[in-house]
């Protein structure tokens, strides 16, 4: 009876949940951040020699930091914008088919492909001697394989963005098609149409605003995921600039052990930025619930 009361009590679950959250998530994460800070200022690490700001200065004064953050931002924003431009009209037109059991398998399939495999496939398909290039050559569109546009390791990160879009589209299709149904957008579209609204107007004035507003939290989370991606830019990206995760791993694991504290400081900056974005996400989520 006592146990039954205890288990049924919300207070019990709240307290236990918070305790587990603190022990399993917050404490290790906070400890990691503190360790990264100590490492950056010379208080921790195999070669630590006491307090110094030289590693922090080296990061802040280098070109790597700003270019890497801007490059990651450009890629993450591009992926989100292009994906949404593809997905939302598709959801408005085909949400039933997307949720159809058999056909939805095709949508779910790309979600099962790991990022490293996706990047390798892109490398094989989009390279100058890749599948697309060979098809163009066979069709006579290009006279030499070298004439195929430079889309792998290129300055605009074309293949990185394309690969991420291929992975993001299925996720957003499933997410927004469910949202489309729960928000009863089909009924609302029908009402709008009966009042004389055209397809384009419905899309612009109704579907896009409602789905973007309700899905903002998920979009932000996906933005964070792309911003910190590693495998795809590692294979398809350039040596300069590099996405933030690639840069951090380079600093942590390259030939010069003296660069390791710089890697920790970069990790710290990156984590703090993500915390800011997550707090924005929580605010949006709370607004959504309200």
């Amino acid at each position: 009876m006592i146990l039954e009361n205890m288990l049924l009590s919300n207070k019990f679950f709240n307290r236990t949940g918070i305790t587990l959250l603190v022990m399993l998530v917050i404490l290790p994460f906070a400890a990691g951040l503190i360790y990264a800070l100590f490492y950056s200022i010379g208080f921790a690490g195999a070669f630590a020699k006491g307090f110094t700001l030289q590693h922090i200065k080296a990061v802040l004064y280098s070109n790597d930091l700003l270019s890497s953050f801007l490059y990651s931002l450009y890629i993450a924003l591009s992926v989100i914008v292009y994906s949404l431009l593809l997905v939302i009209p598709a959801v408005a037109g085909f949400h039933r088919k997307i949720n159809d059991g058999k056909k939805s398998f095709l949508v779910y399939l790309p979600l099962a492909v790991p990022a490293i495999v996706a990047s390798f496939i892109s490398f094989q398909v989009m390279g100058k001697t890749g599948v697309l290039s060979s098809v163009f050559f066979k069709l006579g569109i290009i006279k030499d394989l070298q004439q195929f546009p430079d889309v792998v390791n290129d300055v605009f990160a074309t293949s990185i963005i394309a690969t991420h879009i291929l992975m993001a589209v299925p996720f957003f299709l499933i997410y927004f098609s469910n949202l489309f149904l729960t928000e009863r957008l089909q009924d609302m579209s029908a009402i709008a149409a009966s009042l004389g609204a055209g397809k384009r107007q419905i899309l612009q004035k109704l579907v896009f605003p409602v789905l973007l507003k309700r899905g903002l939290a998920a979009i932000l989370l996906y933005f964070i995921f792309v911003f910190g991606s590693y495998e795809i830019p590692l294979l398809l990206g350039r040596q300069q600039p590099q996405m933030i995760s690639v840069l951090i791993v380079r600093k942590l694991q390259r030939f010069n052990l003296a660069d390791v504290p710089q890697g920790y400081f970069l990790s710290l900056l990156y984590s703090l930025l993500m915390l800011v974005l997550l707090s924005v996400f929580l605010k949006l989520k709370n607004k959504e619930l309200a």
């Binding site: 305790t19 390791n153 350039r238 040596q239 694991q253 030939f255 390791v260």
Partner: protein, 407 residues
């Protein structure tokens, strides 16, 4: 309710404390202080975790299909290969050291040069142990390319395992006469834009080091400890040379491949006319297994190329040092080195001295098929350059980014 909270706290505290407690499984026997027979006896039944580069299926096959079964059968040792190379090994062992772990998960590692230097800095290697290995009697320790690693005497702290020399690999159908010197290479690159590059990795840095030594007028100039003045003088010339022709490189020199594996792939597909390998036997191996088409040929430029050895290190925090020593002893045995030397298996150069080998093994080395696609070792040996002090590589790595990639 509060009691349950305390139980959770105590539970996690227990986990943390148990995590700090080191394993008591290890034995107190120090293999360096005991006989080889005792070491072999002690090794039986143990598992050795060997961290090694696993980027080549043939090398993985050698370990999985040849070395591991032989070790199991002869010594009752389970050899477990883990994927990871230089920087990852250093990272793992550095983290273990920082965490104050007395015993870690790694027993052995495949290393050379800069990793040896970094692990020595961390005091993460066990030894000196090679004197204890019976098969070390066959190793050519009089060879400067074997007894010294990046200008640092190995002194028994790592066991020589293979010896290789950097080669340029070219497409013979597209390159009639491969460039033999820096000027010819520059002319070729200009005449064939987009067909040449090198990686921002270990192999690419070895290529840059070879050019640096050539620019400095040979091995004697940069031999010994790192010299800042000499480095600045000759590296400036090196960056001028690279920057002068980089607009004719693959992708107009605006980026460089992250690894030699992707250069190999572009070479095989015909996108690039050149790739390179740290292993002078690799071209025969890659053609034999079908990775490279038969148009692949390799050579060394007149200015020479770096020759170096790769080694097996035993980790100081490893739990099974005796078993690791038995593994190292097996891998340098004449029969295991012979197997590794076969072009269709790995094509890795041996570290054993021919004259010291038993006659039966000598004959087998003699009857190994001659190289068809790469030059024989005897031909390129006179062009072999010694590795420079590790600081040269660290500086070249940083400055290559600063003065070439970021320009």
């Amino acid at each position: 309710m509060k009691i349950l909270q305390y139980i959770i706290y105590i539970f996690f505290f227990g986990i943390i404390v148990s995590g700090c407690h080191t394993s008591s499984e290890e034995k107190n026997i120090d293999p360096l202080q005991t006989s080889w027979e005792t070491i072999v006896q002690e090794a039986k039944g143990h598992t050795v975790n060997l961290m090694m580069w696993q980027g080549d299926p043939q090398i993985n096959k050698y370990i999985a299909d040849y070395a591991a079964p032989a070790l199991k059968e002869k010594y009752g040792i389970t050899l477990h290969a883990l994927a990871g190379q230089g920087n990852q090994i250093v990272s793992i062992l550095m983290n273990e050291k920082e965490a104050g772990k007395k015993y870690g998960d790694l027993d052995m590692c495949w290393i050379n040069g800069e990793t040896f230097y970094q692990l020595r800095q961390l005091d993460a290697l066990y030894g000196p142990f090679t004197d204890k290995l019976p098969n070390a009697q066959y190793i050519d320790f009089s060879n400067k390319f074997i007894n010294t690693d990046f200008q640092e005497p190995v002194n028994g702290m790592e066991c020589p395992w293979g010896n290789v020399q950097l080669c340029l690999i070219y497409n013979k159908d597209k390159v009639n006469s491969p460039p033999k010197n820096r000027a010819a290479l520059a002319a070729f690159v200009q005449a064939n834009p987009g067909r040449f590059t090198f990686g921002a990795d270990f192999t690419g840095l070895t290529f840059l080091k070879s050019l640096l030594i050539d620019i400095a007028g040979g091995n004697q100039t940069l031999k010994g400890k790192f010299d800042e003045v000499l480095y600045k003088k000759y590296s400036a010339e090196l960056w001028d040379y690279i920057n002068g022709i980089k607009k004719y490189f693959w992708k107009e020199g605006k980026t460089f491949p992250a690894s030699v594996a992707s250069i190999h792939q572009m070479f095989a597909s015909g996108e690039l006319y050149f790739t390179m390998s740290n292993n002078d036997g690799e071209v025969d191996n890659k053609v034999a297994i079908g990775t490279f088409p038969s148009f692949a040929r390799s050579y060394v430029m007149d200015g020479g190329s770096i020759q170096n050895s790769h080694y097996l290190g035993i980790v100081k925090t490893g739990k099974n040092k005796a078993a690791a020593m038995v593994v190292a002893n097996f891998l340098i045995s004449p029969i295991a080195q012979l197997q590794k030397n076969k072009p269709a298996v790995w094509g890795d150069g041996t570290v054993l001295q021919y004259n010291k080998l038993p006659d039966s093994i000598k004959k087998q080395f003699d009857t190994l098929s001659q190289r068809k696609y790469g030059p024989d070792r005897a031909v390129i040996q006179p062009k072999a350059l010694e590795e420079l002090a590790p600081e040269y590589m660290i500086r070249l790595n940083d400055d290559f980014r600063k003065y070439v990639i970021e320009q």
